[in-house]
């Protein structure tokens, strides 16, 4: 299962908040709205198989 999450569209800025999850650690649970209006939770997605989360901004 592939999931994309988006949050905006700007480049060339400095990082103000580092991620808090780490490799090998537990994934933090979340629920977000999908394009079809449904709420998708990580737990629900994992029930169907591994999950790829792709974070993007705008079209890149």
């Amino acid at each position: 299962m592939l999931v994309l999450a988006s949050s905006g569209c700007v480049t060339g800025l400095h990082v103000t908040s580092e991620a808090t999850v780490a490799d090998g650690g537990a994934a933090a649970p979340f629920t977000l709205p999908a394009q079809d209006g449904t709420q998708v939770s990580l737990g629900q997605a994992l029930a169907a198989g591994p999950v790829a989360l792709v974070f993007y901004r705008g079209y890149w």
């Binding site: 999450a5 990082v15 991620a19 808090t20 994934a27 709205p33 974070f55 890149w60």
Partner: protein, 234 residues
Amino acid sequence: MDSPEDSRAFAKDYGIAFPLLSDPDGTVSRVYAGVTSDHNTLPGVVIIDRGGRIVFRQVASAKDDRMTTAELLATLDRTLGTSGPGVASAGYAAIDRAQLRVALGGGGVRGSGETRGTVVGSVAGLYPLGRHVLVGPWLGFEPRAAPLEVDAAIVLRLPIWADAGAIELGAAGGWTPWGDAGASASARAGLWFAMSPRWALQLEVSVTTHGLGGRADSSTASAALGVTRLFDVR
């Protein structure tokens, strides 16, 4: 910020079947990828195994650092021990879609011993038979000799620019009911370029003969620029 509504339109255009999630306040982005000073997420990829453990994480700091689709698929296979099929989505590519074309241009009409300038227009509906052939009805408009020309057209095309464009050669034949009434036949050559899965531009030159078998005949040579609306026909 992409709303679920924006994502819906994007998913429809690009034939995306997997969930496109919106993270409006950046909560999830902040946890998984990090956030920049303008509150936007950093682009990144996180792979989570069935047990909910993060088995891969890569966050890009610049546009050129982001993974390509091929790299993402290879990373998924390597990380999860799979060898899945590529994410080809039939019907997404502009060149695979049905077309509604409108074009406008100008040229010259030769008939009754004289040549006159004219405007030309056309509307065509073209259905793809594979990547190299388009067929469909073609309506031509040329006020001097053939106000209306009703044709059936075939376009042979050679995809270029990674299938985002095509070099085209076309032929059409049909009937001109008014003006130089009678059978009509035309040949055209053009260049077509898709700007998105929904829109394309085309440039064409054509030669048309009107009124074959009628009382008067004429030939029109013209060049036209047009726009194509693309439709998914899966």
